[in-house]
């Protein structure tokens, strides 16, 4: 046990905390992209119009079934070759993860919307509510309740997946940890420290989702 030398790692704490900041930012940007794009995809998949349905279908299946690490690499190395557009290491990672998670979010949105009984649509229609009002005031507020628990889990996976950005050198938490390991020859201590810091980011997200769930439940009774 005495061989563990956590104190040697502590001097690197400021670097690690900077890594936490980058991890958090990648998570925030990719989750935002995913939440918006995921909703668009879910609505497209509800459409009976083939030009809306099929692109969304192909998109979701493509991003669900290929590894996010490769998607990051494609965007970082491949996109500049094709379009001349270089997103940089941070941008490529955040956008790739956002595109990836949107596929998962969209399926959650879909399940949430389907979970609202179809008679709620009928009741809205006979009252003359427009489609957007029906979604906004009737369907989405009920779907939110179905959607929150799987959204929370997926978001926690997303934050852990930001570690994949280390593969293209984005200076996020895992990447910083790897550099410190190499410098100190102390991979176990360093990575344990890194894991604790991941927990420090993901656990508040879990608590936040729990809190949201409670709030939406109370609104019913």
């Amino acid at each position: 046990m005495n061989d563990f030398q956590f104190t040697r790692i502590l001097v690197y704490l400021p670097d690690l905390l900077r890594g936490v900041g980058v991890t958090f930012q990648i998570g925030l940007v990719s989750a935002s992209i995913g939440l918006v794009l995921g909703l668009v995809l879910a609505l497209m998949k509800f459409s009976r119009h083939p030009l809306a349905y099929w692109p969304a279908y192909v998109y979701v299946e493509f991003f669900r079934t290929t590894p996010p690490l490769i998607q990051i690499v494609w965007l970082y190395y491949g996109l500049p070759l094709i379009t001349g557009q270089d997103l940089g290491a941070f941008g490529a990672a955040a956008v790739a993860l956002g595109l990836n998670v949107s596929a998962f979010y969209s399926e959650i949105y879909r399940a949430g919307l389907v979970g609202v009984h179809r008679t709620q649509w009928q009741a809205s229609r006979v009252l003359g509510l427009s489609l957007s009002d029906t979604l906004r005031f009737v369907i989405v507020p009920q779907a939110v309740r179905n959607v929150l628990p799987p959204m929370g889990t997926t978001t926690i996976y997303l934050i852990k997946d930001t570690a994949l950005a280390s593969a293209i050198g984005t200076p996020e938490l895992l990447r910083i940890g790897q550099l410190i390991s190499v410098e100190t020859f102390r991979p176990v201590e360093t990575l344990t420290m890194v894991a604790i810091l991941y927990f420090a980011v993901t656990y508040p997200v879990a608590l936040f989702v729990d809190w949201l769930e409670r709030r939406f439940k109370i609104a019913r009774t």
């Binding site: 009741a123 229609r125 009737v138």
Partner: protein
């Protein structure tokens, strides 16, 4: 005064190649209360759903107040435009067997949502209207309660108030007491009677023969997607012209007799 409020002509409704409504003609005058009876699967709900524009139809037309409101989609000049559909929905209120209140909104919010969003009423105006309607259906003390806290009968009365808030010219009721415990049926029927007395035009699918006898101007008997017979309740119940009507009523009264 008694011009026709609803005129349905040659309505044909199919699911796939299964014909559900087969050349239905119907004329409803303002203020009339029509009760629709008939065996399960005869197309009663489908007829109401077509009137409420919840279902497209293959042939025929529906006129409300003389204006074309819906038209068969296989007809030469196609479907009605979105504006006339919206118009139609504003004139017709519908209440369902399963209430279909919005569970995440209070009783008052359930009622005020459509007046605010569709009729463009202010929050205060819609609230005033909502409270007045809740008084009418005897739920003024439940305005801030969520639907799951109400009994079935109270939920159904709230659903009636919600439909009335759009100030429809016609109210459609599809077996609105069928999901209720027997002791709660009366309070809902009473609300419907009141509405009839105030001159509301109503189309009511129900198995409550007492209501049909007392309140209906005409009873319509449907079978296999057709209107078989339409007559005043005393005629339908005492001397129906059609053998099918007689057979249906005998079975129904027999069942009711055994239940008591």
């Amino acid at each position: 005064m008694s011009g026709s409020l609803i005129v349905v002509e040659r309505l044909v409704k199919r699911y796939g190649d299964h014909t559900i409504l087969d050349d239905v003609n119907l004329d409803v005058k303002a203020g009339q209360v029509l009760v629709v009876i008939g065996p399960s699967g005869s197309g009663k709900s489908t007829l109401l759903r077509c009137l409420a524009a919840l279902e497209p139809m293959q042939h025929g037309s529906i006129r409300i107040d003389g204006k074309l409101a819906a038209k068969g989609k296989e007809e030469a000049d196609g479907e009605p435009d979105a504006a006339s559909l919206r118009d139609l929905r504003q004139r017709i209120g519908m209440v369902f067997q399963q209430f279909n209140l919005f569970p995440h909104l209070t009783v008052l919010e359930n009622i005020t949502l459509a007046p605010r969003r569709v009729r463009g009423m202010t929050q205060a105006g819609a609230d005033r209207l909502g409270i007045e309607l809740l008084r009418k259906v005897g739920l003024e003390d439940k305005r801030d309660v969520y639907p799951e806290r109400l009994s079935g009968g109270q939920q159904q009365r709230a659903a009636i108030a919600r439909a009335l808030a759009m100030q429809p010219k016609v109210m459609l009721f599809d077996e609105v007491t069928s999901a209720l415990d027997p002791e709660l049926v009366g309070e809902v029927l009473r609300t419907m009677r009141q509405l009839a007395e105030q001159g509301m035009t109503m189309l009511v699918v129900t198995h409550e023969m007492g209501f049909a006898r007392d309140v209906a101007d005409d009873v319509i008997f449907m079978d296999k997607g057709k209107i078989v017979e339409r007559a005043a309740p005393e005629v339908i119940f005492e001397h129906p012209k059609e053998a099918r009507t007689r057979a249906f009523l005998e079975r129904l009264l027999d069942r009711e007799g055994r239940r008591q």
